[in-house]
């Protein structure tokens, strides 16, 4: 295949792309079979240089594409139910891709903080309606296991529980407290230190 030029190469599922060599790595949308690399999606073939003498073969589909959370992804979720042992969330965003259907997430008490795991109080960390950043650590039967045990993960949007009509997002005043700008009421939360995703992943 002559993909060294700038022309766009369109491929279909099952189309053979190239032979497997030492300096060619499988990317997104491809699979290996019988010593060759095939496309598993219909889209555009991209060959990217990765390191010295190493090329990654990708197939990207233009337009909207679906995504599933995998282990290690940073996801955005909304807290649905809080119990003394775990928190149920609805994952609605994976990295920077907004999901059409939400996935179920489970955040256990032991995964809220890195230190003092035994003294974590769920009700002082999350409340229903909060928007949190979390990392996927496992996939269970019906949900994804999440963790907020990093400084950059936790609650990013929260509302005061006593204000009913005018819901104003609370402002973080520390790593464990948020304050309502209207009524100045302080509430305990596991506050996220919001940074760009590239900083987190590096």
């Amino acid at each position: 295949m002559g993909s060294s030029g700038e022309e766009t190469i369109v491929c279909l599922p099952g189309e053979r792309l190239c032979r497997i060599e030492d300096n060619i790595v499988l990317g997104v949308g491809t699979y290996e079979q019988n010593g060759y690399i095939y496309a598993s999606k219909s889209g555009i073939v991209n060959i990217e240089e990765s390191g010295e003498n190493c090329q990654v073969v990708n197939v990207h589909k233009p337009g909207f594409h679906l995504t599933i959370p995998t282990t290690g992804d940073i996801v955005t979720a909304r807290v649905l139910v809080t119990t003394p042992k775990f928190v149920k969330c609805a994952i609605f965003c994976v990295r920077n891709v907004l999901l059409e259907n939400s996935y179920r997430g489970l955040l256990r008490k032991e995964d809220v903080r890195e230190t003092e795991k035994d003294r974590v109080d769920i009700y002082k960390s999350f409340k229903p309606g909060d928007v949190i950043l979390a990392r996927v650590i496992n996939q269970m039967e019906q949900s994804f296991l999440l963790t907020t045990a990093e400084n950059e993960l936790g609650v990013v949007i929260a509302y005061a529980s006593d204000v009913r009509k005018t819901r104003v997002p609370m402002v973080p005043v520390g790593w464990s407290e948020m304050q309502c700008p209207l009524t100045t009421i302080k509430e305990s939360r596991k506050v996220a230190k919001v940074l760009p995703e590239s900083t987190i992943n590096s």
Binding site: K41, K61, P62, S102, Q142
Partner: protein, 249 residues
């Protein structure tokens, strides 16, 4: 064979003027709906089929114990799709049978290890039935899966074949040829890998002709695959131009 009807004339033409190896005219279109994740419309002769794909999304129900993807298919024929009005568009024995056939064929094509504990819903609606309904439904479902961006091993394509009175194999039989007593063989295949994912036959003929009829159906599958590939590439170029070939992820 109790056929009183001749499927092939003396000049070698069929009832609608085709030669024995010719397909009916195929038209297809991807992305016909906005709401589903993938959708396709396909015409093959007078058979018109709509397919919609939702997913992969979270599997519903409590009995999902496997690590594989769950393919949920629904085959439905509109009440106005046949000459006599149907009372039940779905749920009868034939549509349940076709639903299982679709599930079996699509599970051979979808890379299920990439979507653990997920569910893919495929809805197929036949708007007009004129023979080879299952084959056209499977082809439309394949196009809808490609439109949804689901990873496939290969396109899975289906075609029908028959055998005339003087043992000449026919490709892509229509409704008249189906009900005239000729045998009907349906093959769903992965053409590049030369694998058959589904095989069904009605009526009887001698086993000496089975290989010939299967090869005729496989040739039809390859021809249909080329037509579908051209349509998908044209759709991709159209989508890519609209999105300015933006890099995803």
């Amino acid at each position: 064979m109790a056929s009183n009807f001749e499927l092939l004339s003396e000049q070698g033409l069929r009832l609608d003027g085709r030669r024995p190896h010719e397909l009916r005219h195929i038209q297809c279109k991807l992305g016909v709906f906005e709401q589903p994740d993938g959708s396709a419309y396909m015409e093959q002769g007078n058979t018109k089929v709509l397919a919609a794909v939702y997913g992969p999304h979270q599997a519903k129900g409590k009995k999902t114990e496997s690590n594989d993807v769950i393919i949920n298919c629904q085959y439905s024929q509109a009440t106005f799709s046949t000459a006599e009005r149907k009372n039940r568009p779905r749920g009868d024995r034939k549509s349940q049978e076709f639903k299982m056939y679709l599930q079996q064929a699509l599970s051979a094509a979808i890379k299920s290890e990439l979507y653990p504990r997920s569910q893919i819903d495929v809805y197929v609606e036949v708007l007009q039935a004129d023979g080879a309904n299952y084959a056209v439904a499977l082809n439309a479902a394949t196009l809808a899966l490609i439109d949804a961006g689901i990873c496939l091993n290969e396109l899975i394509v289906a075609c029908t074949a028959s055998l005339s009175k003087n043992n000449i194999p026919l490709t892509d039989i229509s409704h008249i040829e189906e009900v005239s007593g000729g045998p009907k063989l349906t093959v769903a295949a992965l053409p590049t890998a030369q694998k058959i994912a589904f095989l069904e036959m009605s009526e009887r003929f001698h086993i000496d002709h089975l290989e010939t009829v299967i090869e005729t159906a496989m040739a039809g599958c390859r021809e249909i695959r080329d037509i579908l590939e051209a349509v998908v590439k044209e759709h991709l170029l159209h989508m890519g131009s609209a999105a300015d070939w933006g890099r995803v992820c």
